[in-house]
């Protein structure tokens, strides 16, 4: 019975998923001893910002694009949305720099780096579409200025910054979905491969060999 199940598409998918990410890797309760620096908190801080962005954005979307302009509560949630975006980019950039100086792509972790870099790149148009969907002077100015870059590359033919309806759709659904999808892939890859180990230092490696060499020579002396 179980053999038949394992041959099904569902069974194979489950086997592969559990094989790549067993529960103890997906939700670990231990981590390598070298993970002890403040730089490691910027990844989880970026994820937390993304959660606040989506939460505040959902409230703004539920009430419609005009709500925040004429209500105090709406303006409050718009401010939360703005500051969570600012913090998201700040934490994400620190996280990226930290991972760069760790050369975090080592040990077969290139896809972890690639998905992280893509998150940053896709988040930029996601934020831009938010700025041009604000229905205020900032939206007017930013859209009329940024259109030239889009048009020069031919992107303006199908991505019109002056079309509020199109930009709003991109901002509340298409680009956030892309960011979340890439972030999910990134986190799963981190869980699968683990946090990159530190560079090995030659002097420490040599020192580590010393006791072993001493033990070996002592054994030889004993045998003699």
């Amino acid at each position: 019975m179980s053999v038949v199940e394992d041959r099904s598409w569902t069974g194979r998918l489950r086997l592969r998923a559990v094989g790549s990410l067993p529960p103890e890797k997906l939700l670990p309760d231990k981590q390598p001893t070298y993970v002890s620096s403040w730089i490691y908190v910027f990844g989880v801080l970026s994820l937390s910002c993304l959660a606040v962005i989506i939460g505040s954005g959902t409230i703004l979307a539920l009430k419609g694009p005009g709500w925040w302009h004429f209500t105090g509560v709406g303006h409050f949630f718009n401010s939360i949305h703005l500051w969570s975006v600012e913090l998201f980019f700040f934490f994400m950039v620190v996280h990226l720099w930290g991972k760069y100086w760790m050369a975090a792509w080592r040990g077969g972790r290139a896809r972890v780096w690639i998905t992280g870099a893509f998150t940053f790149l896709v988040a930029i148009p996601c934020a831009l579409t938010g700025y041009v969907s604000q229905q205020n002077f900032d939206a007017q100015w930013i859209s009329t200025q940024a259109k030239d870059a889009m048009n020069s590359a031919g992107i303006g033919a199908f991505f019109n910054l002056l079309n509020f309806g199109q930009m709003y759709s991109y901002h509340v659904l298409l680009l956030p979905a892309a960011v979340v999808a890439i972030v999910v892939a990134h986190v799963l890859l981190v869980r699968k491969h683990g946090v990159v180990p530190p560079f090995e230092l030659r002097e420490l490696a040599a020192k580590a060999k010393e006791p072993a060499a001493a033990t070996q020579s002592a054994e030889q002396e004993t045998r003699a």
Partner: protein, 319 residues
């Protein structure tokens, strides 16, 4: 051992951690981080709020700066405005920007057609009913030969350099020989000041409207947006659109993109936008592909900031 073999060996060495582990509570860490971020956002919101400058409208523009409005409308009529000569995706007046033999702007074509004379001036004027003198002026203009139309608009544009706004909101243009233009522009100005042009520029085949391409292009051709932007430190040589109204950080992550516009050859090139987009495209690709770029991927090894990051680990090993 070849370089490839050495790299493969290194990859295997760093693939899995074979040293010690310590206890860790992922869910607790994530919950605390979420709480900290939420608290930070609330504090920043209470302290700084968020900007929301009211948008400009064609009506407010026509009321506060009627000379600029009429001047812009005249350039729309003869096609000499920025939009009139833009090229794709709005019209075929030029081929747009290019980089070498690559003409993406031209190749993608006119996807949002805008006829500045018809869309911004003639059609709105024709929608005004009950003014036979105005409609007669429009008919006179439309039935005149192109050479005559150009003579009227050129003379009128020169006259507008010495024009002045009257207390009642109208515009006085010294001189004559402007044909039907004074009547047409007076009618358009009144229509705009009453708020009718804001709606007329959004008119399309359907009832619901979400596309502000035409009114935004029209306003961008005039000084209404640029004057406000300059006062709010938002124009190109003030690091442009990465800034935001007020003293807010804006889109600081666009600093590198905006930086290129401040230096030559980008700052003086007619193809600045496509050049900057190309440079940023190459740099973005490089960011994604850092693990595979020799030299760039080796810098962290040469400048050992990692010793600082993992100092506890190295200290424990040394001890």
């Amino acid at each position: 051992m070849t370089r490839r073999e050495r790299r493969a060996l290194e990859t295997e060495r760093y693939r899995d951690w074979k040293g010690g582990y310590r206890s860790y509570d992922l869910v607790k860490e994530a919950s605390i981080a979420l709480g900290v971020v939420l608290a930070l956002c609330v504090v920043l919101t209470i302290l700084f709020s968020s900007p929301d400058e009211k948008p400009s409208t064609v009506q407010s523009w026509a009321r506060t700066d009627p000379v600029d409005f009429v001047t812009t409308a005249t350039t729309e009529l003869d096609g000499s405005s920025a939009t009139g000569g833009y090229g794709p995706p709005y019209n075929h007046a030029s081929s747009g920007q290019h980089m070498g033999f690559i003409h993406l702007q031209k190749w993608l074509g006119v996807s949002h057609p805008v006829d500045t004379a018809k869309d911004f001036v003639l059609a709105p004027l024709q929608s005004i009913t009950g003014q036979p003198t105005l409609q007669a002026a429009v008919t006179t203009y439309e039935s005149a030969p192109a050479k005559q139309q150009t003579a009227w608009t050129s003379a009128y544009e020169k006259g507008l350099n010495k024009a002045s706004a009257n207390p009642n909101g109208s515009v006085s243009v010294p001189g004559s020989r402007y044909g039907p233009l004074p009547a047409m522009m007076s009618g358009l100005l009144s229509f705009a000041q009453a708020g009718g042009l804001d709606g007329a520029l959004l008119t399309s085949k359907q009832f619901y409207q979400t596309d502000y391409t035409k009114p935004l292009l029209f306003m961008a051709d005039g000084g209404v947006l640029a004057d406000r932007a300059k006062a709010e430190h938002l124009v190109g040589n003030q690091w442009g659109m990465m800034n935001e109204t007020g003293s807010y950080p804006g889109q600081v992550w666009l600093w590198l993109y905006t930086f290129w516009y401040q230096i030559k050859p980008f700052s003086t090139s007619a193809n600045a936008d496509i050049l900057v987009i190309t440079v940023m495209g190459v740099l973005s690709l490089a960011l994604v592909l850092i693990p595979f770029i020799p030299g760039v991927r080796d810098i962290p090894r040469w400048i050992p900031l990692y010793r600082l990051i993992w100092r506890d680990h190295y200290r424990a090993l040394a001890g």
